[in-house]
Each structure stands twice: as C-alpha cells, then as structure tokens.
Subunit: 227 residues, 2 copies
DNA sequence: GTCTATAACCGGATAGAC
DNA sequence: GTCTATCCGGTTATAGAC
C-alpha cells in the first residue's frame, strides 16, 4: 500500500530518477497525457520497474503534492518570521499557495479529481495522506500561533484544520480561474482572509456565542468520530 | 459532446435499455467494477453500439445523476406543499437527499470524483451540467420561496445557489459516513440546517451588515464573472 | 442518415522469470 | 531490483445493415 522505500543505493537512485521524470512530465504534458510508459522511457527503466517503486500512478501524485508543499513552506518562512498581523499572515500564506502552484495549474485539475476520490489511497482525508495532511495543518497552526491576534481557545483549537480546508477550497476555485495572472483568485483570497479575521473577532459577540459554540462543537464531533 | 438523442423508435428502445442496464450494474457492482462491456452484454448490444448513444462512461453518470434528482424531487413534493417553516423544509429536503441516495452509497464515491474533475464534461460547475444544475438550484429556490420566512432580498437572491453548494458538501460528508443508518450525516444535517436558518436571521444585526454585504458581493462576483 | 457490429488501439496494472 | 509478456477495460475506426 505505502510507497516502498528502496533498500539499496542503486534503488535509491532509480526511485529518485523515476520521481523526477514523473514530476517533469506532469508539468510538461499534464497528468493524463503522461503515461507510465513515458515516465519509464525517460528514466531509461522498464515499465515494470517503475511499479516496483510506485504501486500506482496515483502514488506519484502524492509525491508531487509533497513537493509543492515543501516549496510553499519555504516560500512563506520569511513572512511568518517577519509579520505578526494575522490577516497579513493568512493573506500572504494563501497568495503564496497559488503562486507556488501556478506552474502546475494545467495539471491541477486532474490531480484534484484523482485525489478527491474517497476510495483513492491518496484522499486527503484518508490514512495514507495523514503525514502530509498533518504537516500542512501544522503550517496553518504556525500561521495562527505566530500572530499577535488574541483568539479564544475553542476557536484556536479548530482554526488550523479549518484553514487547511479553506486552502483546498481556494485551490479548487483557482483551478477554474482563467483570468489573466489568476487575478480573480487573488481577489477572492484578499476578500476571504479579511472576512475570516473579521469573523473571528465577531465571534465574541454575546449574540453569536450560542452559534459559535454549536459550530465548534459540530466541527469537533466531525473530526473526532464517536466510533 | 452532448448525448445523442435517438431518431428512431428502435434507437429509443436501445438507448433506454443501455441506460437501465448501466444504472442496475452501477448499483450492483459499483462504478469501476461495471465495465462498458458488461453493460453492453446485459443489454444484448455490441460494445460499439453503446458508444453510439453515450459518448463515454461518464455520460452515463450524468443520467444517473438526473435519475436520483428526479427521485428526490418527487420525494419532497408533499413536504414542500405542506410545511411552511424554513428550517423544517430545509431539514426535510436534506434528509431526503441522503435517503434517496442511500442505495447508491457504495457507488457515490467514485462518481463524485469522476464528476469533480474540472476537465470532465460532467463537472457540476461546467456547461454540460447546466440544465441539471439549474433544476436542482430551482428546487432549492422553491424550498426558500415557499417558506414563511422573511428573508432580505440580497440574501434570498444568493440562497438557492448556496444551498445547492451546501447539498454537495453534505453529500461528500455522507460518502465518508460509515455510521449505522448514516446517523452521523443526519445529525450533521439537523445541526447545519438549524445554523443556516439562525445565521439568516442574525444577518440583520447592524454589526453584521458590513460582512454580509461583503460576503454577498463576493458570491455575486464569483457567480457572474466580470469577463 | 440511423443503427449495429467487429476489430483494433492505448495505457494502467500485474505475473513471473532472471 | 529489473525485465518481458500479458491482461484488462475505456475508447475509436470503420465497415456493413436497416
């Protein structure tokens, strides 16, 4: 099920070569147009050998996903050190997501749908994706934690996971975005990050207390299944 | 691109037979396990003939979609005539969605992901799905319109589309739901429909006016692209 | 012009020898 | 760990039947 880790030096090399060829080809031709045969050919390895390292084409996508996550984390590190304003941190982080992913815009659609399949081992909500999911959620935890915003504990608890989900929503919007420079997505990001920060500050209103408790309770029950 | 409509009596019959076999097999074996060859075989038609009526396996899914929508619309008709309370109408409608779709729970996952692909002709946000999407949105417009709730015009305008989106969210949750009798989904429906109605009534608070205007403006700009 | 059928093609995946 | 040969299923080309 999981991706095999090579046991020998030679295996290490082959695995890296296959992965690198795959990432290149995904960008050059898109996901569907990249055949396992073409990946093997460029790596100068047989088709069967590719399957020794990656049990399916989908598993190459998971690595692809990790690749962009690492680019993203590196890109926003300076911002997270520098800026303490929550709205600015959130806006900068989200803008950086779409900038980082821009080279893969054409591929993103098919990858998204591949990954959306609940029976896919790569489904973001599933077990196989947990390590990476945890990393991304941790990144959003850092976005929140490093800010000077005073956030009620019950909200702070659910916020990172919520922002991870929000990021997926933005990415789905971005996939459809045909505007020049992906300007519409950037506008939506500016507007929604502002609204999120505003909503957090409003959540302390006495009139909203009840709904807030219910929303957070619901989220918690979803994240931690009673079973 | 679009599904060919048969020109002759005989074609009519073949098309209906293929569709019916496909719907049966999807339920019996799931989407992936149902091969185009098995559909053709059960219909006692050649593989090539199936492709005369349905340009791809995905196009059979669109019909599947329409089928469940019609079941759903019929199921909630009495409720919509009888009950005027918005929360009750919404709750009843959503509960009925998952009840109607229950026989297809096992298939739903792969269908969802097929359809989530932005480059799929069947993507719910795309052009090919527009007729069906409009029907579903109209159904939610009726849920709202037939209620005795007094809803500000700007909210009422965006509400049907929002509820359609909300329905998709609930269905995605339902796909993952392994609880007996799909009880957790029903709980989430009860809780969220209540919250939605509450949120609508809160939206008139002076303190929320600003955010409400911004949220609705954002939604509108997304639905009606400036291009 | 409308339907049906047969025979391929293509690409993801697997079996099993070395 | 690497290979070749093969399977399997969605899709297409194309020729004939009504």
């Amino acid at each position: 099920m999981a991706i095999a880790s090579p046991k020998t030096r030679r295996g290490e090399t082959s695995r890296a070569a296959i992965l690198s060829a795959a990432l290149d080809l995904f960008q050059e031709r898109g996901y569907e147009a990249t055949t396992m045969r073409s990946i093997a050919e460029r790596t100068r390895v047989s088709l069967g050998s590719s399957y020794h390292y990656f049990p399916s084409k989908e598993h190459l996508v998971l690595e692809f996903y990790r690749h962009t996550h690492e680019l993203h984390a590196a890109a926003i590190a300076p911002l997270l050190r520098r800026d303490k304003d929550l709205a600015a941190r959130l806006r900068g982080t989200m803008r950086s997501v779409v900038v980082t992913c821009e080279p893969f815009h054409a591929v993103a659609g098919s990858i998204f749908s591949t990954v959306a399949n609940p029976s896919s081992p790569l489904n973001p909500f599933g077990a196989a994706a947990k390590p990476l999911r945890d990393e991304v959620v941790a990144l959003y935890a850092e976005v929140v934690r490093g800010s000077d915003a005073r956030i009620p504990a019950d909200i702070a608890e659910m916020l990172p996971l919520t922002l991870w989900l929000y990021q997926m929503g933005i990415l789905y919007f971005w996939i459809f975005d045909r505007s020049p420079g992906r300007l519409r997505t950037l506008e939506v990001i500016d507007e929604t990050t502002d609204l999120i920060v505003r909503l957090i500050s409003l959540a302390n209103l006495p009139l909203l207390r009840g709904s807030r408790k219910r929303v957070l309770g619901l989220m918690k029950s979803i994240v931690e299944p009673p079973s």
